[in-house]
Structures are given as structure tokens and as C-alpha cells.
């Protein structure tokens, strides 16, 4: 499904990923854990095509195709989904409209018929129950005034509607209460199938109590320093990241690349 091979990524003059390699086979859920500043979010953003990261070496193959050569919307249409750590507000754009625009854009790109309003409504109603979201919330602008938990549920709802083949969840569990955490885990589990995979990026083991991964990778200092089975997460929880071998964990501040020109809303 996904092959990351010796990936080096910089932003400006600082290298954030220094040779990440990992493989996620079809049907597997892999977790990437690591301390703050280890490059976890950068990895997620690079997979989705976010600016302004620069890939200086290495490659990423998605179903055998060069993922990095595709623009973000092409990646999405090909089945790659990024669950955002900080889902963005889009004032003035109703969530329902956003969802339908996204789904139909992907369907068009894949040469499928667009979904009409009635079918779409039925689809959303079925999926929103899985994430326990009120219909009224979907009539509001995207994430506008949503609580942290509502935003994350909205991410999972989008994932369920778009049905990606590869879901990359960037700390989707951060800041969630136990109910929301359960919803996130259930969402990922719902999609689990032999031809779908997920890369779950997390700081804590908490999510992995609800969502048992096939493999756990530890990212530190821009590299995968350890990989193992589900037990590795528990070990990290017990002993922390400090006991890990490999290069010293540097404290890095990861910029998400916000342009400073300001935005008008």
C-alpha cells in the first residue's frame, strides 16, 4: 500500500526528517509514535502534499505510484486521506456543502457519477450516526465554532464518507475525552478491510488501547528508531521515549508553514 524509503524532508535550512523508511502493507494499521518535535506531523503533511516542505531525498510509493509527484487533490482522489491534527475553520461554507463538494470532486476525478442530493443525504445520515454527530452541526460552517471533539468527529465523518484506501491520522486523538477517543477508534475500525490501510500518528498510547495496530514505529530525531508489534506501545508508555536507542532526541520546533500575510474572513 505505502512504501516510504529513506525520506529526507527539510523546511528552510532545517532538516526535519532524516531518512524515514517504513512500509504499510495492504489491510494493516500501523502506528507512528514519538515525542514532540520528532517529525510526526511533518511526515503526515508530506504524505498529503502540504507546502512548504522540501523533499531532499528518498521516495514515497503509494500502490506503486510516486505519491510525491501528485498534487494534494490527486492524492485524495487516489484514496489518501489526512485526518488533521488541527482541522481548519471555513467560515461561510456549510459542512454539508463542503462534504458533498469533496466527495463529488473525488468521484469526478475517478470517472464516477456524482452523487445526487438525496443519495448524498442518505449517505451522510448513515455515517454521522457512527460518529454520533447531530445533523444540525452539519448545517453550520465547516468547524466554525465546533469544539475540539466535534472537529475530530468531523474528521472521522469525512473519512467515513470519502472511504479512503490509506488513512493518515495526524494526532487525531490529541485533546479528546474518552467518548470521542472511542468514536475515533471505532471509525478507523469500521474502515478496516483487506484492501485498506491506516497510518495512525500519535503521541500517546491511549488511542492504541482502543485501536490495536499491526505494527508500531517510533519516530525520534527525524528517523524511525524502533519498530515492533503492539506491545511496543505499552513499553513506551511504561518507560518513555528516553530509553530508546538511536540518535539523541533533539528538541525541534515544527512549523506547520502558516503564511504570515494574514487571512480575511
Amino acid at each position: 500500500m505505502l512504501l516510504i524509503d529513506d525520506l529526507h524532508v527539510s523546511i528552510g535550512d532545517s532538516e526535519i526528517l532524516s531518512g524515514v523508511s517504513l512500509e504499510v502493507p495492504d489491510g494493516e494499521i500501523h502506528a507512528v509514535m514519538g515525542p514532540n518535535g520528532s517529525g510526526k506531523s511533518t511526515l503526515a503533511h508530506v504524505l498529503a502534499g502540504r507546502d512548504p516542505y522540501e523533499v531532499t531525498a528518498g521516495r514515497v510509493l503509494y500502490e506503486g505510484v510516486d505519491l510525491l509527484a501528485m498534487v494534494p487533490e490527486e492524492r485524495a482522489a487516489a484514496g489518501v486521506f489526512l485526518g488533521f491534527q488541527h482541522p481548519v475553520e471555513i467560515p461561510g461554507v456549510p459542512t454539508m456543502y463542503f462534504l458533498r463538494t469533496a466527495l463529488n470532486a473525488q468521484r469526478r476525478a475517478r470517472g464516477q457519477e456524482e452523487l445526487g442530493p438525496v443519495e448524498f443525504l442518505a449517505l451522510v445520515d448513515a455515517k454521522r450516526r457512527l460518529v454520533e454527530m447531530e445533523r444540525a452541526l452539519l448545517d453550520r460552517a465547516v468547524n466554525d465554532g465546533f469544539s475540539g471533539g466535534e472537529r475530530k468527529r468531523n474528521e472521522i465523518l469525512q473519512m467515513l464518507i470519502l472511504e479512503p484506501r490509506l488513512a493518515v491520522l495526524d494526532e487525531t486523538d490529541s485533546g479528546l475525552d474518552i467518548d470521542a477517543l472511542r468514536v475515533v477508534a471505532a471509525g478507523v475500525t469500521t474502515l478496516r478491510s483487506p484492501d485498506r490501510s491506516a497510518l495512525v500518528i500519535t503521541h500517546h498510547q491511549r488511542l492504541l488501547d482502543h485501536l490495536v495496530p499491526d505494527r508500531v514505529h517510533v519516530l525520534a530525531g527525524g528517523r524511525i528508531v524502533r519498530s515492533g508489534g503492539p506491545d511496543l506501545a505499552a513499553e513506551l508508555e511504561a518507560h518513555g521515549y528516553a530509553t530508546l536507542g538511536g540518535p539523541a532526541v533533539e528538541s525541534l520546533t515544527v512549523s506547520t508553514g502558516t503564511v504570515s500575510t494574514g487571512t480575511a474572513r
Binding site: 508530506v46 494534494p72 487533490e73 466527495l103 470532486a105 503564511v259 494574514g262
Partner: protein
């Protein structure tokens, strides 16, 4: 003598005539003496003061050179008839709003294209200038007398001097007009005279209420100048919902002024969607004259390549306990230029004033330009006033969010711009007026982004917002 008192020769009409001579005051024997005198007074004012230049504070951003290049001749009576044959009902906006419709072509009411008197309750009058003059009871004289002490600038005076016809709407006390009254101003460029001075006068008696929709459009021809004045007088407790849809073609020049005077506890909401013309200037002068009056002003100006739109908005709190709220949003693309020039005045004694003034602008290209000047002038205690202005680009995070969900970049930009505009468009209600507003916005490029073959206009900020990929190996 100040710089603005005498315009430079270049700003004169090309005829070489002095400005005062160029102002042709219609000679009509049937008009009452006060009107003849008022016309002459206004023409004399123009002659004495000339046209404003960019040295004039309120005209800093709008040059009149292009305007004054259009011959300043008044259209003769019946001028509109020539072209009317070519104007079919298909040229008029649809859907019909359900109420009375007055079609004004080149400043003259055209009864054949209008449907006056539809859905009007008893006592409500919608009539022409000539008709209103017959039953003259001082109302119109008041309308012309408001600038006796001096005009804000020559274009307002010109309207007083050269107006041909007027739409006069009279609501007796307590009258309630359910269906919108629509006035459609059509500019139909004639061979020579292409200045029109349309006028709309609304006198709303105590406790009356109505909805008024002004639509401005033009049909292909040459350049034309529309210099419109709308006057609104609201009696105690009267309510008017007012909408302006301005969408003339790009060779048109549009100037309009809304002059509103609000009596005690009256309520005016005025909503502007401005998209048309090479130059559009949409002046609003509201005087909150009676205690407890309330005004809401909303504006959305969509300014594309080669366009210039200026929004001078003056709200004058002259009585205590009044509220005012302004929200103007600009979307500027290509090398367009948008201006918001808001001035909020609280007079001495206007205690309990509650006023807010907000202007937000979205720049869609590197060449696009916005000037915003929100100003407060407070001369009373016990007031709550706020103002704010913002100029920005599309949110790159929101753009990436949409793209990461599979929405192509171009479409994603459209979604974001529409979202920005939505806050104003939703104030056009949910019925036919809203539909007309959305169609006008769409025609202006809110959806069709590559008008004028200008991929650079909208796409330029793609370079800053989200460069394509950028992740080569």
C-alpha cells in the same frame, strides 16, 4: 481659491465649454417655479465649484477623468424611445419579484415595460416626476431643498439640475406593502448623450413598511454615465428594506447616492451588491434624525480586472438612542481596486448611540488593491462604538484543507471566496431577491473565475497560497 474649486482643464468636458454651460437644465414650462429655481441653483453650484479631484478628501481614490470625457449633455425627452424597441423583456431581470416594477431607461420611466400599481394597497403611490408634481404638496420641494447650504460634490448637484424624470414612492402612514417594489434602471447608450441622472424618492409615513429593490443594468452600446440619487425619508416607526443590485457592463460608469433620513424609531436596512461598471461609486449618507432609529448597512463589492469600486459611507448619529451597523466586504481580483471609506459621526447629545462599522476585504491577486478607511468621530458620552477593518488573502490552511479532501485548487478557491461572500449574500433573504443577488454575483466571477481570459487574476495567488506540489525527489 482652493485647488478643488476649479478643476484642471483636462477634467472639463471635451467640448471645451465651461462646466456651467455644459450642464443643460431641462426647460419645461410645465414645471413649477420652485423646481426651475432649484435646477438653476444646482447648475450654478456646479459651475462655481467644479468637479472634485483626488485632492478632495472623499475623492482621494476615485478619478473622474474618464467620467468627464463623456459629453455632459442631458438626454432629450424621448431619447430612451429610440433604443427601447431593441430592449426586450428578456433583457430585464428575472424572476419577477411579485410586486410593482418600474423600468427606467436612460432616466425616463417607460410605462410599456413597467408594471406600476401591482400589489399596492390603497393610498400607496408609485409615480413619475410629472405625475407627482401635479399633486404637489411640498414633498418634492423638500427633496430638492436638502442641499440648499451647499452640495457634497458636483455629481449630486448635477442630479438636481439635470434630472429628467423621477420615481416617486409615497407610503401613507400605516401602509404595509408586502411585495417588493422594484425599480430597474437601464442604461441604453445613445449616440451622443450618455449621462443619465435617475432619481428615486421614497417618502414613508409613520408606521409604514415596504421593501424596495433597485437594479442597475446596461445593454451593449457605448460608454455611459449613470448618476443616480435615491432619497429615503422614514417617518416615525417606518420600516424600509432596501436592496441594490448594481451590475452594469464594464464600459459603464456608475455613481449613486443613497440619502436617507430616519425619523424616531424607524428602521432602514440597505444591502448593496456591487459588481458592474468600470467605475462604481456607491455613496451612502444616513442621518439618524429621530430618537431610537436603527440602520443596518451591508455591502458586497466584487471588483475584477480593470474595475474600480468606491464605497463612501457616512452614518450620522444626530439623535440619542440610535443604533447603526455596517458590514462591507470586498473581493478584489486582477488589477481591480476597491475602496471602503466609512465615516461614523456621533453628534453632541446623541447619547446611547450603539454603532459598529466593519470592513473586510479579500485580495485575490498580487495586483489587486484595497484602501480601507474606517473612521469614528464621537462627540457624545455614553456611546458604544466599534470599528474594524481587515485586508487579507485566501487562508492557505483552508485552501489546503479543501485540496486534501480532493477539491481541485481552482474549485477550492471558488468555495472559499463564496464562503467569504456568503455572510453578506445571506442577508438578501431566501427568496427571489437572494436568487437575483446570487446570479449577479456568479455573473461577476464569484463562480466564473476566468473571465476576461485572466487566469493570472485569480491564479496568481496560487503562487503564494499553495505552489503545485513542490515535492520533487
Amino acid at each position: 481659491m482652493t485647488a478643488m474649486a476649479r478643476p484642471a482643464t483636462a477634467r472639463r468636458p471635451p467640448s471645451g465649454a465651461a462646466v456651467g454651460m455644459a450642464v443643460q437644465v431641462p426647460e419645461r414650462a410645465s414645471e413649477p417655479g420652485w423646481l426651475k429655481a432649484a435646477r438653476q441653483r444646482a447648475a450654478t453650484w456646479v459651475d462655481a465649484h467644479g468637479f472634485p479631484t483626488t485632492k478632495h478628501e472623499d475623492w482621494r481614490y476615485t478619478k473622474l477623468d474618464a467620467v468627464l470625457a463623456v459629453p455632459l449633455a442631458a438626454p432629450p425627452e424621448g431619447a430612451a424611445e429610440d433604443g427601447q424597441a431593441s430592449l426586450s423583456s428578456g433583457d430585464l431581470p428575472a424572476p419577477h419579484l411579485g410586486g410593482s416594477r418600474v423600468v427606467v431607461v436612460n432616466g425616463w420611466i417607460v410605462p410599456e415595460l413597467s408594471a406600476i400599481g401591482v400589489a399596492l394597497p390603497g393610498g400607496v403611490r408609485v409615480e413619475s416626476l410629472a405625475s407627482a408634481l401635479q399633486a404637489d404638496d411640498g414633498r418634492l420641494e423638500q427633496s430638492w431643498a436638502r442641499h440648499v447650504g451647499g452640495y457634497p460634490h458636483a455629481l449630486r448637484a448635477l442630479n438636481d439640475a439635470a434630472v429628467c424624470d423621477a420615481v416617486v414612492i409615497d407610503l401613507p402612514p400605516g401602509a404595509v406593502v408586502e411585495d417588493p417594489i422594484e425599480v430597474v434602471f437601464v442604461s441604453l447608450p445613445a449616440s451622443e448623450a450618455s449621462w443619465w441622472h435617475p432619481r428615486l424618492v421614497v417618502v414613508a409615513g409613520a408606521g409604514s413598511s415596504a421593501t424596495l429593490v433597485e437594479t442597475y443594468l446596461s445593454v451593449p452600446g457605448g460608454p455611459s454615465v449613470t448618476n443616480a440619487v435615491t432619497q429615503v425619508h422614514l417617518g416615525a416607526g417606518a420600516q424600509l428594506a432596501h436592496y441594490v443590485l448594481q451590475g452594469e457592463r464594464r464600459d459603464s460608469l456608475h455613481f449613486s447616492s443613497l440619502e436617507a433620513r430616519l425619523g424616531p424609531a424607524s428602521r432602514l436596512s440597505s444591502r448593496l451588491l456591487a459588481t458592474g461598471g468600470r467605475i462604481g461609486r456607491h455613496e451612502v449618507d444616513v442621518v439618524l434624525a429621530g430618537e431610537g432609529a436603527d440602520v443596518e448597512l451591508d455591502g458586497l463589492f466584487l471588483v475584477g480586472a480593470g474595475q474600480h469600486h468606491d464605497n463612501p459611507v457616512l452614518v450620522d448619529h444626530a439623535a440619542p438612542g440610535c443604533t447603526s451597523r455596517q458590514l462591507y466586504k470586498g473581493v478584489v481580483s486582477g488589477d481591480g481596486h476597491g475602496v471602503f471609506n466609512g465615516h461614523l459621526v456621533v453628534r453632541p447629545g446623541a447619547d446611547g448611540t450603539d454603532a459598529a462599522q466593519v470592513n473586510k476585504n479579500l485580495l485575490l491577486s498580487e495586483q489587486a488593491e484595497v484602501d480601507t478607511r474606517p473612521r469614528l468621530e464621537i462627540n457624545a458620552d455614553d456611546v458604544a462604538c466599534s470599528h474594524g477593518a481587515a485586508v487579507g488573502q485566501l487562508d492557505p490552511d483552508a485552501l489546503f484543507y479543501l485540496r486534501a479532501r480532493g477539491v481541485p485548487e481552482r474549485e477550492a478557491r471558488v468555495v472559499l471566496v463564496s464562503g467569504f461572500a456568503h455572510e453578506i449574500l445571506e442577508r438578501f433573504g431566501s427568496g427571489a431577491i437572494r436568487q437575483r443577488a446570487e446570479e449577479l454575483a456568479t455573473a461577476a466571477g464569484l463562480i466564473v473565475l476566468d473571465e476576461d481570459g485572466h487566469p493570472g487574476g485569480i491564479a496568481t495567488c496560487a503562487a503564494t497560497g499553495s505552489r503545485r506540489g513542490g515535492l520533487s525527489q
